[in-house]
């Protein structure tokens, strides 16, 4: 080994290390800046009046309570439809379907669907649910659109979770005379539950953060609705409301306050997903 060579190597090492530190610092800076800026702009306007009131042009008040409720409605209705559908599909694909071309095509399709821009789902949802089925923009049309969007996510994560259950458990149950469904219910699903829950939380995160698909299908109504009237009446979620206040009403301050609320919800969701992930690794 010559000194020249080792000096060159040291310089190369130092350069790479410096580049990586710069990359890390830049990433953290951007992150801190975005979060900090949103909180800086949003928190002063995050008043009790805003989170507990409604928007009225007559009284000249702005409130996002209806939008928070709408977001909640969308989560509930979408998950209610998507969960049994996607877990059923995942169990079928993993436990019942013969391994072959059919399963590969479905897996390829679900994978592709998870990567499609959500605005396309919005467009399809509008054409199918609103124009063909005649639904009005609102909770039902919006949720059905979201179901199309998040089903592939839950199917994928559930399939992955089911695949981590060792085959020896399945064999053990069957060798005791268990029927196939009994085995799935008592041995396979309980051992995949953490993975399925993580998938659900990711899906809830997707629903909370979704705006493009809902611009078409949920409508932009800011009025306070209960769950059932929201079904067929225009109901803007937090994200849609953020868009409205920022771009159409020029209420940028309100938009930042909504951003803070969304960010807090997202943090909570990620925290919950992390907790479940940890429990799984224990």
């Amino acid at each position: 080994m010559t000194d020249k060579k080792s000096a060159g190597r040291r310089a190369w090492n130092a350069t790479m290390k410096a580049l990586m530190i710069i990359g890390a610092v830049l990433t953290i800076t951007i992150l801190v800046f975005v979060i900090g800026y949103i909180f800086y702009r949003g928190i002063p306007h995050l008043t009790w009046q805003l989170v507990s009131g409604t928007t009225s042009y007559l009284n000249d008040t702005i409130g996002i309570l209806p939008n928070m409720l709408n977001t909640l409605y969308f989560i509930v209705l979408t998950m209610l439809i998507a969960l049994p559908l996607s877990i059923g599909a995942a169990v079928y694909l993993t436990e019942y379907a013969k391994k072959g071309a059919f399963e590969n095509i479905i897996e390829f399709a679900t994978e592709t669907l998870t990567g499609i821009p959500s605005i396309i789902f919005g467009l399809v949802g509008m054409i199918v649910f609103m124009q063909a089925f005649g639904l009005k923009a609102g909770l039902l049309a919006g949720s059905l659109t979201l179901v199309m969007m998040i089903t592939p996510i839950i199917v994928r994560t559930t399939q992955e979770a089911l695949k981590t259950v060792p085959d020896s458990y399945r064999e053990g149950a069957l060798a005791l005379g268990s029927g196939k469904w009994h085995m799935i219910r008592t041995v396979v699903l309980p051992n995949a539950i953490d993975g399925i829950l993580t998938g659900c939380i990711l899906a809830i995160g997707r629903i909370t953060g979704e705006s493009a698909a809902l611009l078409f299908t949920a409508g932009m109504g800011l009025a306070l609705n209960d769950f059932f009237t929201a079904m067929q009446s225009s109901s803007a979620t937090l994200t849609v409301a953020l868009y409205l206040y920022a771009s159409e009403n020029g209420e940028v301050d309100t938009a930042f306050a909504i951003a803070v609320v969304l960010m807090i919800i997202t943090l909570l969701i990620n925290f919950a997903a992390g907790r479940i992930g940890k429990r799984k690794n224990k």
């Binding site: 020896s168 458990y169 064999e171 053990g172 005791l176 005379g177 268990s178 041995v187 051992n191």
Partner: protein, 247 residues
Amino acid sequence: MDVTDLNLWYGEKHALHGVSMKISEHRITALIGPSGCGKSTFLRSLNRMNDLVEGCKITGKVVYQDKNIYDPDVDVTGLRKRIGMVFQKANPFPMSIYDNIAYGPRIHGIKNKAKLDEIVEQSLKDAAIWDEVKDRLKSSALGMSGGQQQRLCIARALAVHPDILLMDESTSALDPISTGKIEELAVKLKENYTVIMVTHNMQQAVRISDDCAFFLLGDLIEFSSTDKMFSKPDDKRTEDYITGRFG
């Protein structure tokens, strides 16, 4: 149990060639032979576990209690209740020791708590593990040692009161002391059960089995009492194998 002309294919691969064998009750039958000779495959076709393998095709007859278990009208779950199986690697479910044992009886409709308690205790006693676990029935089965887990799996299989117990190299992953315990157990079990076991361990076959079947490349070469096979084998290949000339 009477096996006649059993052929088995995994896809294109012809894994068992016309095996016929009459297995006696209340004896330990050992299946021996080099790796890949079809002994495990044969064992798994006795309670139709090969049904789970995609592309597996079976011809021939396995008659048990005057009934071919491959007849289309056979209830496979009922069959597996009567012909239990213990696997090569201990596979307790990730639940409590109690729930592991109660899993089988619960499938078959026993819900009564007192009855389940009784079955759990009796099965664990039969599997010679009761004294070691009686104070921690509610703790997870995954916290037990490998040998204990395997005896738990035997207890779990016994809990559904099978007639026949199939053991697929059930001691190969265990230390000598645990192996010894399971061998003792197998000998004790043959009073009430018929035991059919696959083993790689020739000494084990000599120690505990009554009858012995030697497989080679999917053929049953020789089937006789263990004493005879290990003293005066009929076939040259059997002799070569048991004297360690190949395998």
